[in-house]
């Protein structure tokens, strides 16, 4: 409660709170007037009927179908010897959640106990090694929480954000594994690519006034064209990325940190080369071997599709949102057409189109497998909705921000990147979380185009003669799983928003 207000305070006192006895409360809210009583009776009737039916059924249900098939429901046909990588990503997320909680929320709240209860419950219901894995997740969450509390708030916040941003690429990398073409030349191409980029950074940072570095980039490009594959593609990428890095370094050469960064990167180049030439191969052959996307399945596939969808639709969506607000009529028209087209058709038609049309639209040698096609469909779909969300954030930025940035002498690009977008994106975080949840739910639609996500796996489990007649158990389990994931995410994001004060400034 608030502090007792002194007599001189001009602050308005809160209105007096009504106090009831228990019976008085029941009487007032449930029993009077007559229509309220009627409502109470009807509600009670519904509640009793629902609970009676559900509990009666749940006690007789054949729940053993779930533990018997839990692995295939969770990861599909993901190779057993690599399942530890999925566990590793769970441990990582436990750590990151614990750490962020420690940094941002700090207090022990009821929700914290609920969150901690998740691994505890899972450890209790599981048997064998899975129990210990969940206990490890619990321990990591607690350690993360302690470390997060111990960290200073400001720095801890930065660290937590960095961890969240890094988590998703690391998750994808862990699950997918590493794998590059088998040709022996790739190590040399990578070494040269890295060299070009590092040299560009150094040149831009130390000699920003020298424009002839660009000639070097052109030379790299020309060399690529002359040498042919695999050098052509590799050097093309190296020249483009190198040019961009060089330009960026030139522009920010006046900043103190840039020279230090260039130095650090140069120093890191040698260990990187050693890694590429000596450590990469054993790693990618043994325990980080690539798991092809046709082995992704179960809930893992749903989560992967959602993560890929959000990761790639985000930049695309921002681009479309900016395009829709652009002053260039052609760009604006294109963006509007794309966004309205995608939002006007059902998701399943986009998925269907991705499955059917991509193989036709691309040349035969660029074949993409089904999972990747589905992911591309998801990205196309999510980008349009993302664009609308981001546009909402952009529209909420007052005009004064643009004018102030202009008055400070920032260019249009700088205004957008440094002033407008950070504020706009920060404001739409809650909406984006909502979209992510919606996307996660929508990933079940890939079943319809024949992928083995959790719903597809459930269907194949149910066609097994042993488990005929357990549809309700399996589908209810899937529904509850999604409920826990979605509700948990939306709850956590709401708490974090409150802690971060999003939308309150």
């Amino acid at each position: 409660m608030s502090q007792p207000a002194s007599q001189t305070s001009t602050e308005a006192l809160p209105p007096p709170t009504e106090r009831y006895t228990l019976w008085g409360w029941v009487y007032k809210t449930l029993l009077t007037p007559w229509y309220n009583l009627l409502l109470t009776v009807v509600s009670l009737w519904i509640l009793v009927a629902l609970l009676k039916g559900t509990i009666g059924w749940a006690l007789r249900a054949r729940w053993e179908v779930i533990p018997a098939n839990i692995r295939i429901l969770m990861v599909g046909s993901y190779p057993a010897e690599y399942v530890w990588r999925v566990w590793a990503s769970i441990w990582l997320v436990a750590w990151v959640v614990g750490f962020s909680w420690g940094v941002w929320v700090r207090r022990r709240e009821r929700v914290a106990w609920v969150l901690l209860a998740v691994p505890v419950v899972l450890a209790v219901v599981n048997r064998g090694p899975a129990r210990w894995y969940w206990l490890a997740a619990l321990a990591l969450a607690l350690v993360g929480w302690a470390v997060g509390r111990w960290a200073r708030p400001r720095k801890g916040g930065v660290w937590a954000t960095v961890q969240w941003v890094l988590y998703f690429p690391v998750f994808v990398l862990l699950v997918r594994g590493w794998g590059l073409p088998e040709e022996p030349a790739w190590k040399f191409t990578v070494a040269v690519q890295l060299a070009v980029v590092v040299a560009s950074l150094v040149a831009g940072a130390w000699a920003p006034r020298v424009p002839w570095v660009a000639v070097g980039h052109l030379a790299v490009l020309a060399a690529g064209l002359v040498l042919g594959p695999p050098w052509r593609g590799a050097l093309l990428i190296a020249a483009v990325v190198g040019f961009m890095v060089w330009q960026a370094a030139r522009r920010y050469a006046h900043l103190a940190g840039i020279k230090r960064l260039a130095l650090q990167v140069t120093l890191a180049y040698l260990p990187l080369l050693i890694f590429v030439f000596f450590a990469y191969e054993p790693l990618s052959r043994t325990w980080l071997a690539k798991v092809n996307s046709n082995h992704w399945g179960g809930l893992l596939l749903n989560i992967l599709i959602a993560v890929f969808g959000i990761m790639f639709s985000f930049p695309l969506g921002v681009a479309f949102a900016l395009g829709r607000r652009s002053s260039l009529p052609v760009v604006r028209l294109f963006s509007i057409l794309y966004i309205e087209f995608v939002r006007g058709v059902p998701f399943i038609t986009i998925l269907f189109m991705a499955q059917v049309m991509f193989p036709i639209l691309l040349p035969p040698e660029m074949s993409i497998d089904r999972v990747v096609r589905a992911i591309m469909g998801v990205i196309m779909f999510a980008a349009a909705y993302m664009a609308e969300n981001v546009r909402g954030g952009l529209q909420a930025i007052p005009k004064g921000q643009y004018e102030a940035a202009h008055a400070l002498g920032l260019s249009a690009t700088q205004t957008m990147l440094l002033i407008i977008l950070p504020q706009a994106l920060r404001n739409v975080i809650p909406v984006l979380v909502g979209q992510f949840i919606g996307l996660l739910k929508d990933t079940t639609l890939v079943t319809i185009v024949g992928l083995l996500d959790i719903l597809g796996v459930a269907q194949s489990v149910l066609s097994n003669p042993t488990w005929i007649g357990t549809q309700r158990e399996v589908y209810l389990f899937v529904a509850l799983l999604f409920w826990v994931l979605s509700y948990g995410m939306s709850y956590a994001s709401r708490r974090l928003e409150q802690a971060l004060g999003v939308g309150q400034r």
Partner: protein, 407 residues
Amino acid sequence: MWRDLTWQNFWRDERFLRVFGQVVFVVVVLVVGRFLYVNMYTALEQRSLLPDFGFLNTVAGFDIGEVPSFIDYSGASPNKMAFLVGLVNTLRVSALGIVFATIVGVIVGTARVLPNPLARGLATAYVEFLRNVPLLVLLVFWYRGVFIVLPRLAETPLVWGRQDLPDGKFRAWLILSNRGMSMAWPVGTESWPAYRLWLWLAVLAAVAVYVGLTWYARRTGRAPLTLVWAVAAFFAVAALGFLVVQATTGQAPLRWAVPQVKKRLVAGGLKLSPEFLALLSGLVIYTGAYIAEVVRAGLQAVSKGQIEAARALGLTTFQTLRFVVFPQALRVIVPPLTSQYLNLTKNSTLAVAIGYPDLFNVAGTIFNQTGRSIEVIVIIMGVYLSFSLITSAFMNWYNRKIRLVER
């Protein structure tokens, strides 16, 4: 760093850059488009499937489980008739779904702002559960876990109003089994054509009352319940006609067709397949949860002061609702509500997972039969796009109509 500001290099001139940027953009789009088009053309040419809508007139060659009574469709009908059947099925399930979802949503949304904790808690649980579960899971659960595991007709179907008939037959007002639902339904008798005239008369009467009351309201400044009176006029004339026709021809124009069960067959009444029921109920309870949120937001958007002010001015509870709360709440409710309706229509494509022959399902079958990918995609996307264009046209019109007149 001084530059002569009166003259710039033309590549730094913003007017040039704007045009140049757009040209580059168009060129990139065209190049990518041409790349895709050329690939598509060669791929389709190899399979001799170049876009051609002639397949619409060839024989479909497959049966559809549910064909509306007014369409004459069989396996020998052309593909365009199959598309039509799918379209009508989509419209049927969407229209019914919209009606029922609105009812559910309004009830649940209102319950969420009531002071009664039991009703509020129940409504909150409903909304929070359904909004966090994928619709497809819900539909599949509903279909494979509920509707097709209902008792068989030969066993003990769930019935309401059962009357036993001789030799093992029985009839009932409502029969629910694993074959779907059959229920009693009014059908026209021989005196129906005479009654149809009366129905037209009733429509005329309703329109007349509506126009008359609107004119009266404008003239006197009173506010009669125009729509209620118009509907009442319709039913009054219709009821009168019913009695008159019955008295003159000696036969009621409508009678109940009651479903009758013999062994494993149901005859008579209105038959609804389990696929249709599962799709409809799944869509209704899912969209109902979203509509409930829309309704709740609308009701909570009307500030308490408005209601108190209306009461202070002496308006009755009903008047407060009618003149103060509803107009303001509707302004908040209608735009998201229409987008929920559109979502429901788009979500009805999930029918393909449970085998209800909606447009997308039929189109998928036709694609599998003919291999005509582009044409099929163009048709389904065109249909759904026109749905959303119509909806957004309505929305723009409505927004213009209810825009606050600022003074």
